[in-house]
Amino acid sequence: MRRDTPKSVADYTPLFFPGLMLIIFFVIPFSTMIVVSFFRRNPSGFYTPDFVIDNYARFLSAFFGGVLGFSLMLAVLVAVCCVAIAFPFTYLLTKRPRHVQTLWLVGLLSVLSLSEVIIGFAWSTLFSRTAGITNLFVAIGLMDKPVALLPTFGAVLTGMVYQALPYTILVLYPALVRLDPTLLEAARTLGASPVRAFFNVVAPALRNTIVATLIMVFVFALGSYLLPQILGRPQHWTLSVLITDQAIYQSNMPFAAAMAVFLVLISLALVGMTLLVGRKENAL
């Protein structure tokens, strides 16, 4: 049975339910959010319909500009750390026997599915004075007494790298597992050591994959909203935290929506870039 064009209305039936659900519950909510971003905040209620650009103007003020800058910087740092750890790791993993790969993939998926709440709780325990790793250092004589390692920037960064690392490995996995093994064999035959072959052949061949992965992890890290709150100080809060805060605690939906629209634009631009990079790779 080959693919063919739908001939009658009846042929479109399978699209009805998915189409309706996605339009009603994704397109409309998304549009609602954009519309609300132009509304005026109503202190007594939720918001009043209007057309103002105050929300956007306020967002571009110095304070929120600073938060945006910090969010972007943090996301870049997380993406770079993750790819630097994950790329060689995933490469080596694809060279392991099948059952070893399967075991790792199950473990990675389990960590990936962990709620940000649990990751935050786990790391705040690990960084705490009473139940943290510094107790271990005391036990082996490296430190005099246990200390709290949070709230700090390092704690936020560690937590976010932890959250994004399984994601990074799983994004890199298909590209690396499909890598043409003859490439490497040729390099080895010509006398390159495994490490040299990796840096001179594998890494350049997957340059576009690396760029695409960096961008995807960047967008993923941009979405982190609980870890900066649990592991950091208010100055470590990201745009996602601020959006949640405005929407829920300050009851300022229009402003939250304006910030969210801004975040969408950044994410979309980056996802678009990923697709572009991916397309170039396929063309090669």
Binding site: R2, D4, T5, P6, Y12, P14, L15, F17, M21, L22, F25, F26, V27, P29, M33, V36, F89, L92, T94, K95, R98, V106, G107, L108, L109, S110, V111, S113, L114, S115, V117, I118, G120, F121, A122, S124, T125, L126, T130, A131, G132, L165, P166, Y173, P174, V177, R178, V219, L222, Y225, L226, I243, T244, A247, I248, M253, A260, L263, S267, L268
Partner: protein, 267 residues
């Protein structure tokens, strides 16, 4: 063999990094005292029992499981006909629905969550439990959509052709050939959506967080009032469920293929 030795060290460090918080949390969860101490003092499974016996934790557990079971089912119900249509028909514009199915998951979650919050508030249904079920279904529709698309792509079209030549119509081919072939992908798509829904926080919080508590919401709310070993027990419970589900997928299906490895034999 320094290379092998280095690789082992590297794998061990990554494994330790990924496992460290879980080891500490597991240690805390069997602590016999009502406070967070690590290494654990004494041994007790009381905190695990509390998930099921304490009315508040039990209620949160029931909410979470109900939410995950129903939303994953709806996500599959949306993804299956869509993936089937895209495989069966040539209708390029229909790909827009695929993009719509992928978007909620690719964008930062706070955006999808805020979209739902403004939508449900505008139509006046904010806070109802079913709104969270629908929101989660849309948020996680990406997962069954991706696994099912992989499943359809793996079907040998000549097999379907043969059935059609023998006189089977679309419905019969779907029932006797296509569905059995994609069943593993359907099950894993459901499982992915189920596990992630169980752990999801922000969408649930922005739709029902003020009226109903799920486990992640309950943990976060409890975090503000100080730590209890029950939270550690719940965390371990979550990891165990995830590992069990993905372990089962690996046992009965091919997880490497599901995650993008081209062939199922070797690499």
């Amino acid at each position: 063999m320094t290379a092998t030795w280095l690789r082992r060290l590297y794998f061990t460090v990554v494994a330790l990094f990924l496992a460290a918080p879980l080891i500490v949390v597991a240690g805390v969860s069997i602590n016999s005292r009502q406070e967070l101490t690590f290494p654990p003092v004494g041994f007790s499974l009381a905190w695990y029992a509390q998930i099921f016996t304490d009315p508040e934790w039990r209620l949160a557990l029931i909410h979470s499981v109900t939410l995950a079971v129903c939303s994953a089912a709806i996500a599959v119900a949306i993804a299956l006909p869509l993936a089937w249509f895209l495989w069966r028909r040539i209708a390029p514009w229909a790909n827009i629905f695929q993009v719509l199915g992928l978007a909620p998951f690719i964008l930062p979650p706070v955006i999808t969550a805020l979209g739902f919050l403004s939508f449900w508030a505008t139509v006046g249904l904010f806070g109802q439990f079913f709104t969270a079920i629908i929101s989660h279904a849309i948020f996680f529709v990406t997962l069954p959509l991706v696994t099912l698309s992989l499943g359809f792509a793996s079907i040998d079209r000549s097999l379907v052709e043969a059935a059609a030549t023998m006189g089977a119509d679309d419905r019969k081919v779907l029932k006797t050939v296509v569905l059995p072939l994609i069943l593993p992908y359907l099950v894993s798509g459901y499982a992915f959506a189920f596990v992630l829904s169980l752990n999801e926080y922000i969408v649930a919080y922005m739709t029902i967080g003020f009226t109903t508590e799920t486990l992640p919401i309950k943990i976060f709310n409890a975090l503000r009032y100080g730590y209890t070993p029950t939270m550690a027990a719940v965390s371990v419970f979550f990891v165990a469920v995830a590992a069990l589900v993905f372990g089962a997928i690996a046992r009965f299906g091919d997880i490497r293929r599901l995650l993008g490895a081209m062939s199922s034999d070797g690499s």
